[in-house]
Symmetry: C2
DNA sequence: ACTAGAATTTAGACATTCCTAATCATTCAA
DNA sequence: TTGAATGATTAGGAATGTCTAAATTCTAGT
């Protein structure tokens, strides 16, 4: 009754898709996992045997409580590792994901605990994502997407959502990282770019980029009428 | 043409047995790998296709140059990881092996390099075993087994050879670790225990234990007649 | 309500790595 | 020199995780 690495990856992916879509379809899962649809169907049957998902033919899957716990355990490993690689081994934030993706399945609980303590019991990873607790609790934040802010709005970047290393490098070079204070100067119409202020500099950001950035808004001054 | 984790483990084990025995028999390999003999035979055929071993039916195997390089690469990962776990995460020397055994197959060359530098380009692991260089060079030391020393002999412990966590804990608690200075006080006959001096204390060690300890002898005083 | 097209599942296959049972080769001792 | 014991290989099969091709089910548009 061992949870294999493949099973862990499916559970982790189902967790992510379920957050986004509710019930998870076989095809969306297959695409997210980069496998053919029948592979996903086959794995669903296996995950049912392990009581980690509820699955109805042609109707998609959702995680059981057990499945969610396993997913969160793997996500905890992943995010602790990302932070450890960045903080203790000097990895850049665009390089941590790939390495953590393989390590997450092989570290022991002892390793997890030592890293957790070495990092000072952190709660967020280098991209600002919350780190699940040992008990599998995960704070749900609902920050605004930078793409939804209007000119004049300002706040603090809280998360830069999973994106390509290239995009992360681009954003990082411009100071668009968690905890940076940001202000929207302008927002061009027709899905045009946002002009934003970060620190001393100003940047034009396409909507695709802006959508990946989550901001905790500061209440706007002079809006209290 | 990917070298799988199973292949890496076989190559590593063949390397170790070849150092000890020369040509490696299927059965000794199977025992060392904790698999049935047919599994070892099957893997030999596969390793031949990858040109990592030379194998003649009923005659055993030896590594090719390629096979040896791969084995040393994995051993480098293993020993760097053992040292890193001990030095940077506070693992005790009896716990590092198990964790390194799984991590060694999944770390990147980048991770290897960063750990190597973080540790100050080390040359020996927590058990005193030499760490192969990036290029796959490995110094061959020929230290004496503590079991072979005679009363009066003294020297420095250089290696404590692969043994059980229990044994390592026992030896560690008594200061019998690499770089410790040791002197043989007495050696009981009939395969009896050795009485040794380490630091300020004296211990009686059975031959089985003593065989695992490798010592660099100091030339004995007053032996120059 | 039908039906075409999309989504999903089933069928069958392959690569890995391991196993047990049976067969074959080697070796050593009489 | 021969045959029994030991060691090694072959034969056949299971589990895992993937694939393509074919069949099935669902869903929307008419
Ligand atoms: Mn854990
Ligand atoms: Mn992350
Ligand atoms: Mn390496
Ligand atoms: Mn070691």
């Amino acid at each position: 009754m061992k949870i294999t690495e493949a099973m862990q990856n499916y559970l982790k992916t189902i967790y992510r898709l379920q957050e986004r879509d509710g019930v998870v379809s076989t095809s969306s899962l297959a695409i997210a996992m980069s496998v053919a649809a029948p592979s996903a169907t086959g794995m669903m049957k296996k995950l049912v045997r392990y009581r980690t998902v509820r699955y109805t033919r042609y109707q998609g899957v959702v995680l059981t409580k057990t499945g969610r716990q396993i997913a969160l355990e793997v996500i905890r490993h992943h995010r602790l590792l990302e932070l450890y690689l960045a903080a203790s081994l000097g990895y850049s934030w665009d390089a941590v994901h790939e390495e953590a993706e393989r390590l997450e399945h092989v570290i022991s609980e002892d390793f997890e605990e030592r890293v957790f303590e070495a990092l000072g019991r952190p709660t967020r990873d280098p991209h600002g994502e919350p780190i699940p607790t040992r008990e599998g609790a995960l704070p749900v934040w609902n920050h605004d997407s930078l793409a939804d802010l209007e000119p004049g709005a300002s706040g603090t970047i809280r998360q830069v959502r999973d994106s390509s290393p290239d995009m992360l490098r681009y954003l990082g070079a411009r100071g668009l990282v968690p905890d940076a204070v940001i202000r929207v100067v302008d927002k061009a119409p027709f899905n045009g770019p946002l002009t934003v202020n970060v620190g001393a500099s100003t940047h034009a950001l396409g909507r695709d980029l802006a959508r990946h950035i989550r901001v905790e808004m500061r209440p706007m001054l002079g809006e209290q009428e």
